[in-house]
């Protein structure tokens, strides 16, 4: 088994045993959706645009929880230090943490998508299938950005409070693109209209996965 697979399977095993991250993320996503359903005018809250917006807000909040938890699992008993002195290179560690965060987020967002359909009076149809790749792109981009920034903020006092302040502004371009592309997917508009927005999501993912892969060793390193 490779180091990547070992770290990822260890994280998944720990999560299966505790369920802390996923349960918290699903609960938070549900809360966000419930609040938005009640806060929005019923006339507005029936459209795919509102549903797409609500789903991406849920992604951001749930993702913040998941990204910090994936690295936080290593702070117990200072296991992160054992990983740092092991022969595993930092880029592999980053990739495994990114993958773990993305999987936790996808589980939470899958539940969030079902709740969105129910809360926003949408139909279970092919629109959800078209939505899936857009959400996956959003989750990868968010996990890449948040994992990198969680490693930076984790070194600062009160880092958990700092993380949202760093992540949200930087995620705005992907958020805008994701909401527009998701609106197109949910409203059964031709996907060609969302091509540019999906392109932005892909570019965002490539940028931050590459940045994280190259920079992680500099931000996770020494005291």
């Amino acid at each position: 088994m490779s180091a990547f697979a070992a770290i990822l399977s260890k994280d998944l095993r720990l999560e299966l045993r505790s369920g802390v991250s996923t349960i918290a993320m699903v609960a938070l996503a549900m809360l966000v959706l419930v609040v938005l359903v009640f806060a929005l005018n019923p006339g507005v809250a029936r459209g795919p645009e509102a549903a797409a917006g609500a789903l991406w807000i849920a992604l951001v909040f749930a993702g913040m929880l998941g990204a910090s938890r994936a690295l936080m699992a290593e702070s117990e008993n200072e296991c992160i230090r054992a990983l740092l002195i092991s022969p595993v290179d930092r880029a592999t560690l980053y990739a495994a943490k990114l993958a773990a965060s993305a999987i936790f987020m996808l589980v939470a967002l899958g539940a969030g998508a079902i709740l969105t359909v129910l809360f926003f009076n949408l139909e279970f149809s092919g629109a959800l299938v078209r939505l899936a790749p857009i959400l996956i792109l959003g989750v990868i981009g968010f996990a890449a950005l948040a994992t990198l920034l969680a490693a930076i903020s984790g070194r600062a006092r009160g880092g958990e409070l700092l993380l949202p302040l760093l992540v949200v502004p930087m995620f705005v371009p992907a958020l805008i693109a994701g909401v527009r592309a998701s609106t197109a997917a949910l409203s059964a508009a031709p996907m060609a209209t969302a091509r540019d927005w999906i392109g932005i999501l892909v570019a965002f993912d490539v940028l931050f996965v590459t940045a994280g892969y190259l920079l992680f060793e500099h931000v996770i390193g020494q005291e």
Partner: protein, 236 residues
């Protein structure tokens, strides 16, 4: 003379304006053991963290296997085993799963076999399926020792290795250290008081006011006892 495994030169470390280590010079060769003695907050753990590459020195440098400890390549890191104040073990994994995980990271051929072999060596063969969060502090320390040594390191860094161990645990740890030294591993350990391990020559150093002072005599314990901690100040 063979190149030392560990060599520091005028090593210093400050946290903000507070100096913790001042011009520390240390050389440890293959098959030799150095014990760093000092009170709480003396800087022992800081020195060990620098040697492991976990902390950057403020002044001077530390060479491990001839490489800067801050920039050890993966092969260099593979040759270091570290036992720290914290066990580096995942509480929600079982003892066997923890060892298997680390064995995989260290590219050991048969991680499961190695894990079970080490569980036997540290007297935890009957607890392999227990989650670590159920362990006592002493059991966790034994398991942490197995984790640190599972890849047969060339340099073993032990931060207060006998902490929390009962007499059986002390005997096991003593045997492990002796075996590792006999294999040619260099050992750097910290302790609050002078240590003596039967049949093992320990080079004693003391950290006092940030300075690492070589003790004038090394200690070879009498054959009678397994391990003695000579309580009190090193020069007494």
């Amino acid at each position: 003379m063979a190149a030392p495994i560990v060599e520091t030169h005028a090593l210093g470390k400050s946290f903000g304006l507070v100096p913790v280590l001042l011009e520390a010079n240390l050389r440890v060769a293959s098959g030799r053991a150095a014990v760093i003695i000092g009170g709480n907050g003396a800087g022992k753990s800081t020195l060990l963290a620098i040697l492991a590459g976990l902390s950057a020195p403020s002044t001077g440098y530390a060479l491990v296997f001839g490489q800067d400890s801050r920039r050890l390549d993966p092969d260099g890191r593979r040759r270091i085993g570290m036992l720290s104040h914290r066990s580096f073990l995942y509480p929600n994994l079982t003892a066997a799963e923890n060892l298997e995980f680390y064995a995989t990271l260290y590219r050991i051929e048969n991680p499961r076999g190695a894990a079970h072999s080490w569980l036997r060596r540290v007297g935890l063969a009957n607890f392999g399926g227990e989650r670590v969060r159920m362990f006592s502090r002493g059991m966790e320390q034994r398991l942490a020792a197995a984790r640190a040594m599972i890849a047969e390191p060339t340099l073993l860094i032990l931060d207060e290795p006998f902490a929390a161990l009962d007499s059986d645990g002390v005997a096991i740890m003593t045997d492990l250290i002796r075996t590792e030294l006999a294999r040619g591993c260099a050992v750097v350990a910290s302790a609050h008081a002078r240590l003596a391990i039967e049949g093992v020559e320990l080079e004693q150093y003391e950290i006092s006011r940030g300075r690492l002072i070589p003790h004038p005599e090394t200690v070879e314990a009498p054959r009678a006892g397994r391990l003695r901690s000579l309580l009190g100040r090193p020069n007494q």
